[in-house]
Amino acid sequence: MSIYLDYAASTPVDPRVATRMMECLTTPELQGNPAALNHHFGRAAREAIEQARVQVAQSIGAVPASIVFTSGATESDNLALFGAAKFHAGGADAVKSKHIISARTEHKAVLEPLKRLEKQGFKVTYLKPDSGGIVHPEQLREAITPETMLVSLMHVNNETGVIQDVAALGAVCRERGVLFHVDAAQSAGRLLIDVQRMSIDLLSCTAHKIYGPKGIGALYVRRQPVLGMEAQIIGGGHEFGWRAGTLATPQIVGFGLAMQLAVAERDIDNARIAALRERLWSGLQQLGDVELNGHATQRASGILNVAFHGVEGESLLFALSDLAISAGAACSTGSDEASYVLRALGRSDQLAQSSLRFSLGRFSTVAEVDAALQLINRELPRLRAIATPVHT
């Protein structure tokens, strides 16, 4: 028995997407280089890519020319942060362009580029969310200074599933004339996003969180008015000069269809997945001494992060090895350090370390949730019974 409850780390490819990608891989006329527009094979591949660009753009209320294909959300985050920071730091308003605002609970794909920018002379303010993981617009408003050039905040936290009110945060940025980057790796396709209405200037997204292939993502870059950004990968002028490299036709086509399906089936998926999550949470609560990490209601349908009192997290994860779950961000697996995200929410090191993330998705079933609960119900009491009492 092995049950996949790690959809926040990566989703299985939807069979419809896989079929479309296989068609793309096996159709001779789609094998050309999409940049080779002088012949039929190149143009056919390019047409398939442009169709996918439309699908991705429509899913976030953007124009197709604002979509830059990348290798995934991590690259998109890097391009957004380094690209915008370096472009604006070098201009006439260079003095103004040295302050960036983000939050302590961001993904490492944002935090590590910001650390590098700090070493390069930028000043970064890291907002502390409240105990539910929410960054409030008033906090952001207070943190913005005349030197602030960029705000980078995630839409849905990958560990807790907490949803930020990006429309309200974006309104503050727009009001103060500051660029707004949103890491939407966990939300694009899953939540309603309208980059215009939400005042978003840059948005990172990826295919493998929405039942598309790994290795492909996109960065939305505002076009009206045009946003200055310095390319980080050069050598060919692809993607409007912002990201060089031959485009991966099958990946992009798969991404486009995955996004289209995610948007079309969003309401049905979310309702069904939320019901499964509540079934899981209800079952875990019956075991006792568990706490929900993150805001109780302002959270994504598929993510459930739970603190288990009286048990060590690594041992619980090991005892539950028939469940594909996570002790934190997938990218940090292997480390026995407590989650910095949970610590930022005020959890003790011990409780953060005793927390597990369950994430459900399109292919999760009631039977899987019940089987997971059965296993947890067997292993959790066993480990708790073994544990030394707090006061011995």
């Binding site: 048990v311 060590e312 690594e314 041992s315 090991f318 005892a319 697996t333 292997g334 026995d336 003790s348 090191d349 011990q350 370390q353 019974a385 073994i386 544990a387 030394t388 009492p389 707090v390 011995t392």
Partner: protein
Amino acid sequence: MSAELQISTDFAYSDRVRELFNNLHHAGMLSVDQLAGVVVKRAAVGLREHGACVTIWITLHDAKLQAVRYQAYGCPYFLAACESLAQWLQGRDRAELSQWRWRDVETALAIPANKRSRLLLLDEAINRLAND
């Protein structure tokens, strides 16, 4: 390919750790019946806040260890090491306690260096049991 160029995809625990973790036969406390008429020694080391702690009970009869039990909080390596230690202790003379070597357990269980502090906790517990 040389060893340093090989990319490991194995994040799993060793088979011995798995075996011990799934069979923590000595976990628990000693019952009143077990304690009747025998000398009981107890050692408690570590803190939950630091990620690992253990309480070990042993009973002695004519300086020979009889029952061994422990309660432990920690990672799979630590729990497996506790069980390994309990198995080693069973039936030994008290004078033999000083012969326990944490490095032998580290090797036998393939415990990574960053978990070494857990084994040092057990070393401290053994010293207390031996010298109390």
